[in-house]
């Protein structure tokens, strides 16, 4: 019989005291160490083949640029106003798209909150509607807000949601300009990088390993690899899944 409370206490103290406490930030000093040069935890990665599927070109500049996005659409997206304050409607813009499951397209939308935080939200939409037009068949997949600027770490703060074998994720992009999601069967899935996040989706079958997210700098240098292992939402309701 384990002494559970003692074990929890011991674990929390161990994790807390292992926290890498950075120097106190000052206005002239970035608070977070550059993950590329300062984090010993990174792994060397083999270069991998380029992803064949790519983000849909931003042909359409999007209705948002002209302020044409209907408020009902903006409201339909899953922002996090308790974090960012109300979304500034004029700031809402399309961040990127990739092909989704059959009949669907995965899109990322980006906006700024009234407090200046940058928010992203992920959706699946009908692929019959042109990219940039107001989407139809919106299926909300989650969103996140965070302070803008530099200092974010690739693949930190990932969020994963989904059901019925289809999952989507959003993680901090940090310094990466390109990322790939490698499935256990060798398939390489494209990603969208927008609003400081790298986002995308993947099919997953219970009992199989989770996919690996690989990030690269602009010159092709691998930054890190992060495995998105299940379970993702062991205690979460509804669409949180991936439990053994």
């Amino acid at each position: 019989m384990i002494d559970l409370e003692a074990r929890v206490r011991h674990t929390l103290v161990a994790v807390a005291t292992g926290t890498d406490i950075p120097p106190l930030p000052s206005p002239d000093q970035p608070t977070i160490v550059d993950p590329v040069v300062g984090r010993a935890r990174r792994r060397q990665l083999a270069r991998t083949a380029a992803v064949t599927a790519v983000v849909v070109p931003a042909i359409v500049g999007l209705a948002a640029a002209g302020g044409l996005l209907p408020g009902t659409f903006i409201d339909r997206l899953n922002w996090v106003p308790e974090r960012s304050g109300p979304i500034v409607d004029a700031s809402v813009e399309w961040g990127g798209s990739i092909d989704g499951p059959p009949g669907r397209r995965f899109e990322v939308w980006v906006a700024t909150g009234e407090n200046g935080e940058v928010c992203t939200t992920r959706v699946f939409v009908d692929d019959t509607v042109a990219v940039g037009a107001t989407p139809a068949g919106i299926e909300d997949e989650g969103g996140r807000c965070s302070p803008g600027g530099t200092g974010h770490v690739f693949a930190n703060g990932c969020g994963v949601g989904g059901s019925d074998g289809i999952y989507s994720y959003g993680c901090e992009a940090g310094p990466v300009t390109r990322a790939e999601l490698h499935l256990a069967d060798g398939t390489v899935m494209p990603t969208v990088i927008a609003g400081g996040e790298v986002s995308g989706w993947f099919p997953w079958t219970p009992g199989t390993p989770g996919p690996a997210l690989l990030g690269y700098l602009g010159d092709g240098t691998p930054v890190d690899q992060f495995t998105i292992d299940p379970p993702w939402c062991a205690s979460g309701p509804n669409r949180c899944s991936g439990e053994p």
């Binding site: 899953n78 989650g142 996140r144 703060g157 994963v160 949601g161 939402c233 205690s235």
Partner: protein, 164 residues
């Protein structure tokens, strides 16, 4: 003059302006960052949360009597709100990378704690790391004492089930 202790800033009435914001910051920063880390599962996010709490304090220096208590409550609430990414998603913290390699027992327990719903995790952190009473936890989270009891009970039951 020596900076005030964390205990003095939390338990006794201490005017932030009198104590000096810089000293408050210097004294409480490490502890709040650790608390943010435990609550969010991420060092980086924990830092953001702690900084945001200090920004809140800076805006209210003339109103806050117990800065440590105020900041702790702010960090907890910010961490809980941060996790509310959306109704269809829970922040994935179990696999967040750590710089430190822990013994397997700690690794296993931490991974399970990280999968708990945010409020359950917060209760465990406040009870077993911050050593707060149920009444104090209720005040920090903004719920009734019975809710704290229930959240702790469910969290421990889940951990016991998974670890047995």
């Amino acid at each position: 003059m020596d900076p005030p202790t964390a205990a003095a800033l939390g338990e006794a009435s201490a005017d932030v302006q009198a104590a000096g914001f810089d000293d408050v910051y210097r004294t409480l920063w490490p502890g709040l960052m650790r608390l943010g880390h435990l609550l969010t599962g991420s060092e980086v996010v924990g830092q953001e949360v702690a900084q945001e709490a200090f920004i809140g304090l800076l805006r209210r220096t003339d109103q806050v009597e117990r800065p440590a208590s105020y900041l702790r409550r702010a960090v907890v609430n910010l961490a809980i709100n941060l996790q509310r990414r959306s109704s269809r998603e829970r922040t994935y913290v179990a696999g967040l990378r750590e710089q430190v390699q822990y013994p397997p027992e700690i690794d296993e327990t931490w991974a399970l704690i990280a999968t708990l719903p945010t409020r359950q995790r917060a209760v465990l952190v406040l009870r077993f790391y911050e050593d707060l009473s149920e009444t104090q936890i209720a005040a920090v989270i903004g719920c009734r004492r019975g809710t704290v009891k229930s959240l702790a009970s469910r969290a421990l039951a889940r951990l016991r089930q998974e670890l047995s």
